[in-house]
């Protein structure tokens, strides 16, 4: 009889533990989602009230004058990201093609894959320091070019690994079909495999793009920032995240307002890119792929 009671008690405790664990898991999920909601709501609230046409058409006004915008920073970010893509996308995709098409299972490929993953975790500020020593010191001044190089280097590992993953999803039958028709291997890779995986590869590039679009740390001592119009690669250039940082730590309310507006613009761009990636990958990157 007593054994039965003990058994009942134990079952009850186990059931309660189960409920408690479920409750804790739900609670932690709520706690994780809460800051995201808080950030977004506050960002939209502060950003939208400060956003106007001037923001997109004017350059920053000197301290004390109200108004002004971040047109130069938006253009500057565009220049930097364009340069970064020129460096990061071809090298990254090339590396991905090697990993997926030529080096499968080889030691070199494993080493490259591992190094790419590790490089992905190296702080962006360290990349900026290396580029400072590599480009800025020999040139003797901060420049848009050095900023683009820093961001481009950061894109390579991300693009490389996502391209590889997307290429691996292409069924082998497609490659075999191409080769059986006598298509040379390089052509089969470029025109058949890469083309089949291209939606996935493009989304991978956009992911890397979105990631470096918000990078600030390496730009502090490469692109440096500029409060005037500049699109020259040889001069310091303004960038959106950099401008947000400078304005956020300034003591002026008017600049805080602009920082929020800039943050909203930046986040909208990034969320759009990430959502697009999500949409394409959830839809199945490769139509008809098994």
């Amino acid at each position: 009889m007593q054994l039965n009671n003990e058994h009942k008690l134990q079952t009850r405790i186990r059931a309660l533990t189960d409920v408690a664990a479920t409750g804790l898991a739900v609670l932690s999920t709520v706690l994780v989602v809460a800051p995201l909601v808080a950030i977004f709501v506050y960002l939209v609230y502060r950003g939208a009230s400060s956003l106007n046409l001037d923001f997109f058409t004017q350059i920053p006004k000197p301290v004390g004058e109200s108004g002004g915008g971040m047109a130069n920073a938006i253009v500057g970010s565009g220049v930097l990201l364009g340069l970064a893509s020129l460096i990061g996308v071809p090298l990254g995709i090339g590396g991905g093609i090697y990993l997926a098409e030529f080096g499968r299972g080889t030691k070199l490929a494993n080493a490259v894959r591992f190094t790419a993953d590790v490089l992905n975790g190296v702080p962006s500020i360290v990349m900026g320091m290396a580029v400072l020593a590599m480009v800025v010191h020999p040139e003797g001044h901060f420049s848009a070019f050095s900023g683009g190089v820093a961001l481009g280097i950061m894109m390579i590992p991300t693009v490389c690994r996502t391209s590889e993953e997307m290429l691996l999803m292409v069924p082998n039958a497609v490659r075999e079909a191409a080769l059986a028709l006598g298509v040379p291997n390089w052509r089969s890779v470029l025109a058949i495999t890469v083309r089949t995986a291209s939606p996935g590869i493009i989304t991978g590039c956009m992911l890397a793009f979105a990631r470096v679009a918000g990078e600030t740390a390496p730009l502090i001592f490469t692109a440096f920032g500029n409060s005037n119009w500049s699109t020259s690669l040889n001069e310091p250039i303004a960038a959106l995240p950099l401008q947000i940082y400078v304005y956020a730590i300034s003591p002026y309310d008017d600049w805080h307002r602009l920082a929020w507006a800039g943050a909203l613009v930046l986040i909208v761009l990034i969320v759009l890119a990430v959502s697009l990636v999500r949409y394409v990958t959830s839809r199945g990157v490769l139509k008809g792929a098994s």
């Binding site: 898991a25 994780v32 490259v112 590790v118 190296v122 500020i125 590599m134 490389c160 990078e215 956020a248």
Partner: protein, 364 residues
């Protein structure tokens, strides 16, 4: 699919010979275009040549090697630039402080008088990162458990997307939010409470009215590394075969017991890897921390005091460093950060790989 009968195939001994590898195949000797068959002529005109193939192969290898090149280049540049500080301070840089002859107080970082010691930054980096892990790890595992094992199917995709979105927000926007929302919140509500409740430990002293400091940095870091830890934890948890769950459930376990014994225990190595990866991210995180940690190169026992991390001092001073020794000392900090994050990330990757390698195909 699993139950489909495989037709028996009889293979003769000759067919069992290993297939010749691509590079062993004898390529036909170059044929004059005029003599070649129409098919061969067509193929040759489409660029079917060994040179083109090998050239393309070599080009792709070069692209892949560029990744090694970057690592070597970063290491080389940082080593060269930090030579001066290494030569001046040696290993003392990392564990010794100067002592002010007048006040007898330790003096850590004084660019004007060329006193440089990494101590306060190493301390700040470690404290803020571990604070972040302390807050983030339980939450991240909770979210991963909820999403993989408990969540209704309808909610799973949106919630997973939401946590991924947290990872996509740039550091500087976290910093902006922290400066204007989180820090005032801590200052008005959490800090007085901490001081009242835990002030006696000495870790929460009431001498910093700004709200900036290690606690603020730890909280914002925790929010930032959460998605990384939770998404990797989810990955390793999904890699645990269903048979493990079914076996535990079949013995009469409750759901939580199933998760604890069947899933978490099997995935623990991968989860440790995910946590270490989060640590790597926290160590090098720059902008948000710089904006809320207060930036003073001192060591305080109180977690509410201002501090500074290796990354934040670089962000603050690197562009304006005037003396060579200052620049060199900062570069040495960067080099240390580079080496530490490489080691941390390598360990984490190996642990995660050990669990997820080949796993998805093994489950059915």
């Amino acid at each position: 699919m699993v139950n489909a009968k495989v037709p028996e195939i009889h293979i003769s001994q000759a067919q069992l010979q290993p297939e010749p590898r691509a590079e062993d195949v004898q390529r036909p000797a170059e044929v004059d275009l005029a003599e070649a068959s129409p098919i061969r002529r067509f193929l040759l005109s489409r660029g079917n040549s060994a040179i083109a193939d090998q050239g393309f192969h070599a080009l792709m290898v070069l692209c892949a090697l560029s990744i090694f090149g970057i690592v070597v280049l970063i290491a080389y540049e940082l080593v060269m630039l930090s030579q001066l500080a290494w030569g001046t301070f040696g290993l003392d840089f990392f564990y010794k402080a100067f002592v002010d002859t007048y006040s007898n107080q330790p003096l850590y970082w004084d660019p004007v008088n060329s006193h440089f010691s990494a101590l306060p930054f190493i301390y700040g980096t470690l404290v803020s990162s571990f604070l972040a892990l302390l807050l983030a790890v339980p939450l991240a595992i909770g979210v991963a458990v909820f999403l993989t094992e408990m969540c209704p199917r309808v909610l799973r995709a949106p919630l997973a997307f939401t946590t991924e979105l947290l990872a996509a927000i740039p550091s500087v926007i976290y910093g902006l939010w922290a400066v204007f929302v989180l820090v005032p919140l801590l200052r008005e509500h959490l800090n007085p409470w901490l001081i009242k409740l835990l002030g006696w430990t000495g870790f929460f002293a009431d001498d910093n009215p700004t709200g900036l400091g290690f606690v603020a940095a730890g909280v914002i870091l925790a929010i930032m590394i959460l998605p990384i830890i939770s998404s990797l934890t989810r990955e390793v948890m999904t890699a645990v075969p269903h048979s493990q769950r079914e076996a535990v459930l079949a013995l009469g376990a409750t759901r939580w017991e199933m998760i604890r014994m069947g899933v978490l225990r099997n995935a623990r190595i991968g989860i440790v890897g995910a946590v270490i990866l989060g640590l790597g991210r926290a160590l090098g995180e720059t902008m948000a921390v710089t904006m809320v940690i207060g930036n003073s190169p001192e060591i305080h026992r109180s977690l509410l005091a201002n501090g500074s991390t290796m990354a934040s001092v670089i962000a603050n001073e690197y562009a304006e460093a005037t003396s060579n020794l200052h620049l060199s000392a900062l570069t040495e900090l960067g080099l240390a950060l580079f080496i530490v994050t490489i080691i941390v990330n390598a360990i984490a990757r190996l642990l995660v790989w050990a669990v997820t390698r080949g796993a998805p195909s093994a489950t059915h």
